[in-house]
Symmetry: none
Subunit: 174 residues, 2 copies
């Protein structure tokens, strides 16, 4: 009985070390770029819905864009620029055909969310992220592979193209 | 005088019979589709995110599926059948290309939510909707056009095809 307990504890400690190492390596990787959001904002999966998006081609993604309370309020009131504390989350999944839906419909027409691929965040903090329009950018792969700096450096230049909406592409779906 | 009184009474009774018949026939008409949700559930736009979906062809729809607290809890815990009080909402929009996103990406690949078209609801009440697997079905067009019975009669037979998941097609996106 004692052995089982010790084994359980040992496995627990091991799992903890693995988790910490994974998190540490991800953090280290991200410290080079100041606009990086290095931790996944807590509770994002409980946030309210902003809109949906689909990218074809290599991305082949299905996105749901959610916002924290500050984001939702700003969207609904049309507040621009977004106030500090705004966080927008883009939950990305693979864009896949649904065999079971197609069977029910009797024709091939249905696409659903496949495996989760990554989550991206935009965090508004006009002081901390002053160099990048007040926005911090985060990208967290679901396979826990770290994101390289080169990739993250593309966020701000692209989002800058939508200056008239404070660097936010997604419009609110009523 | 007596004759006029009798005639008036007779007409009154006749009118009553006509009115009752009309109501009865309407009820009959509605009792054929007892599974109708006739009012939009309050606060659905604040609910949490379940998943996304896209239908090609005539529907050309982009959907976000949201759930009330009971729905989200049941999904996360894998509770089947869904408990009474569960409400699932499918917010439908047109599936349209995004010119501004495509411009930023430098290629045509981006699709977003267009105008809202309709909202569909599934409401679980195992007593009220006993005849249709415990689910009431609602469809509310954004253009406020009423939905005819023939259309609503298609809900249950199709959803019955996914009995193994308590008539709910949408899977939870983590």
């Amino acid at each position: 009985m004692k052995r089982i307990m010790l084994l359980t504890i040992a496995i627990g400690i091991l799992a903890g070390i693995v988790a910490l190492t994974a998190r540490a390596s991800r953090n280290t990787n991200q410290t080079n770029t100041p606009a990086l959001v290095t931790e996944i904002p807590a509770g994002y999966r409980e946030w309210r819905f902003i809109s949906v998006a689909h990218e074809e081609g290599n991305l082949n993604s299905f996105a749901s864009i959610l916002g924290n309370d500050i984001a939702i309020k700003a969207y609904r009131q049309g507040t621009l620029p977004f106030p500090d504390g705004t966080i927008i989350a883009a939950l990305h999944y693979r864009f896949i055909p649904s065999a079971e839906n197609n069977k029910a419909f009797g024709r091939d027409q249905s696409f659903v969310a496949g495996v989760p691929t990554n989550i991206q965040f935009m965090v508004k903090d006009s002081k901390k992220y002053a160099a990048t329009g007040g926005w911090g950018f985060g990208h967290f792969n679901n396979d826990a592979k770290p994101v390289d700096d080169a990739f993250m450096k593309t966020c701000f230049p692209c989002h800058q193209k939508i200056k008239e909406r404070d660097l936010v592409f997604t419009r609110y779906a009523p």
